[in-house]
Symmetry: C2
């Protein structure tokens, strides 16, 4: 299967991918829905006439929320027609005025958040990450909390501070407790960190408050996946988080890649779910495979220096599936809505080079991470850009997620 749009070798965006995004251009600031193909975007609003009327409005919208809300049957229709439009010999290729209008080089567009995020939830579903953090703060014998293997631990995050890749992040001010038993101090965060995560957007019909989503139906609510950096102020978090969880240590910003890869594009990369022991409660039990072999990498690029990969992890390290996350999220009757974002929590693998945060890579600041060029890090410095990438690859097929990047700017002093 080949597109008439050139797709360079190693591109994240072959015709088998077609991730969704929202873009604007300098000469047209209206936000429009698109897919990525090679080094172009296909403006779906410009080709909306090729699609059935039932989906057309969603393709002419300024965000993906409408399309997300239409449900999996409509997603399949849109994906099929988009694929046909991009194949060699398609009606679009034959209509070159339209093709040149609808296909726009990615280098000339501005990408935006793909959806209006109603609510953002962050889970804590990597067993290696939870174990690492547990060992650091509670010792080896109590590393995993007693609830961890019974339910996908998660918490409500801040939706307003989710931003698209490329948005700079200011080092925050906050309260910290440098010395136990002494009073806290106030100043710029000293232990700024990234968290390597993936997230998915909720789609499909909304459930009403009080209605649960059955784990076997939950796949209908998974629109697609993105790559995320859940920036974390470790020193602020440690002081503030008891007893109600992380708050200002996390709402300083959460970066996502602009591309939402549909589940259909990930199907060739399905792998067995993570083995679970003890067996989960029936409301969390499903047979369906819903785990993916997605390679994940984190690079740090110090100011004016070249980037260095410091972590290689994989999505398949997650203990809980997104179907279990949805079933648990709604078990008490919580309603979810198209555009809601649910994240995995930091995805660490078993080995030291696969840990998904500086907290783990530097083991709480006890060792240095080498960036080459004479640069070492325990946590993130001002001027550092953190770049997270994700991709699936086998048999010559590469499905990528694009970049989730953000540069840390110095703290803004109090005036």
């Amino acid at each position: 299967m080949a597109s008439f749009v050139p797709v360079p070798a190693g591109s994240d965006f072959p015709i088998q991918n077609l991730p969704y995004g929202v873009f604007s251009t300098k000469d047209n600031e209206r936000r429009r829905v698109c897919v990525a193909i090679g080094e172009h975007v296909l403006d779906l609003s410009a080709v909306a006439d090729f699609y059935p009327e039932s989906v057309r409005e969603s393709l002419q919208s300024t965000s993906l929320n409408l399309l997300m809300g239409l449900g999996h049957e409509s997603w399949a229709v849109v994906r099929k027609i988009t694929t046909e439009l991009l194949l060699k010999g398609s009606k679009l290729e034959q209509n070159s005025p339209l093709a040149s209008k609808a296909l726009i080089p990615q280098s000339t567009v501005e990408m935006h958040l793909p959806a209006q995020i109603g609510d953002y939830t962050d889970f804590y579903s990597s067993i290696h990450h939870a174990t690492n953090v547990g060992i650091m703060f509670r010792g080896k014998d109590n590393a995993l909390m007693p609830n961890w293997k019974y339910l996908p631990v998660g918490y409500h995050g801040r939706a307003s501070s989710v931003v698209v890749s490329g948005t700079p992040i200011n080092r925050p001010y906050g309260q910290t407790l440098p010395v136990d038993g002494q009073p806290p101090v106030f100043g710029p965060c000293r232990l700024l960190d990234f968290e390597l995560e993936m997230a998915f957007f909720i789609g499909g019909p909304e459930n009403k408050l009080g209605e649960r989503i059955n784990v076997d139906d939950a796949w209908k609510n998974v629109f697609g996946f993105t790559v995320m950096n859940d920036w974390s102020a470790r020193d602020i978090q440690k002081w503030e988080y008891v007893p109600l969880g992380p708050f200002t240590a996390k709402n300083l910003g959460t970066t996502i890649s602009p591309w939402v890869v549909p589940v259909a594009a990930l199907e060739p990369f399905l792998v067995d779910n993570f083995p679970q022991d003890p067996s989960p409660f029936p409301y969390l039990k499903h047979q369906q495979k819903f785990n993916f072999d997605i390679k994940l990498e984190v690079s740090i690029k110090p100011e004016n220096k070249s980037e260095k990969v410091i972590c290689k992890s994989n999505y398949k390290n997650l203990y809980w599936t997104v179907l279990q996350q949805i079933a648990h999220h709604t078990v008490t009757g919580c309603n979810v809505r198209p555009g809601d974002l649910m994240a995995s929590g930091t995805i660490s693998g078993e080995t030291e080079d696969s840990f998904g945060s500086m907290l783990e890579l530097s083991w709480k600041g006890t060792r240095e991470v080498d960036l080459g060029n004479g640069e070492v890090r325990k946590f993130i410095k001002d001027g550092d850009e953190v770049i997270i990438r994700g991709y699936c690859e086998n048999n010559g097929l590469r499905i990528g997620f694009g970049e989730c990047a953000g540069k840390v700017l110095p703290a803004i002093a109090f005036s």
Copy 2:
């Protein structure tokens, strides 16, 4: 100051109040912005021509978000003109066709959520509540966590599950740990509770991500107050909440009253801020009085029985002001948006009859709360309606918040 619209003695809604809401009627399902006056609503969309063009669109909107976003100068303009329209001898009284169109009996309207809530944050700002809960779970010597008096502890809640007064709440299913050290069990919540809270809506200009809101400017971001019941599944919460905070134990539903009382209406009831020791960090310090004498009551109405007041508390019990809450919420650069909802946390007073939850009133289920008619409660039973009311009163002036009511329905069995 008297309105031409009748205001019965003891009404929550004299002309000095004019709380905002969003309503619809049977013959016009479009949601419209209104104020309450006596036993009527004034449909502001019907009288929008009396207001300057700069605010008119906000009065013709389907939610209060636009008005919230316009800022305090516009709020003052709208309030002044609305007051003039409702005074005896006003242009509205003289235009009886318009008056009879714009003034609609509250008994015939349906009230909706006043705003689209972007993000919902719940603080934990009552020292008596935090102390009570601390004593129960950690003993008297460690009742308050070390951070509690240094920062307004809070957490991100779930915006989608905030509902307007009158919405029934289903008893949730969930995981609980009845016996420490034994495996958890799954079933309907056994310890369902209310939490007596107040909340305010954010208004004014949005701050950008990375920008803090100065504590001395924070008043500009306070649009108005409402009364809230933060339903809580205590047994589910206890098992799930470590280490990331409450999650499914809270997102089963959060009820607010339909009326948003503007800050201007509360000014006659300003009282001294709660004394704070230790003195807070400079970013949390303000001279401005921003505490209010608001009487709060909780009633339980068992099915087919009369209601009984079981708690009398007061807003002025809060240790942290909303100005401090806003300054802290944004100190790491979190952006807030018009329509965001920020709640106080359970407002308990010092005395046993002023505790704002069944957890405290029954002291963790160790004593019964008498409802009369042979009914006693330790927690909430199916069929119980919980009704929270708030009002300010002095010198014959009563500014009320209306009702925040919700009835608990039995758990929906798993099919």
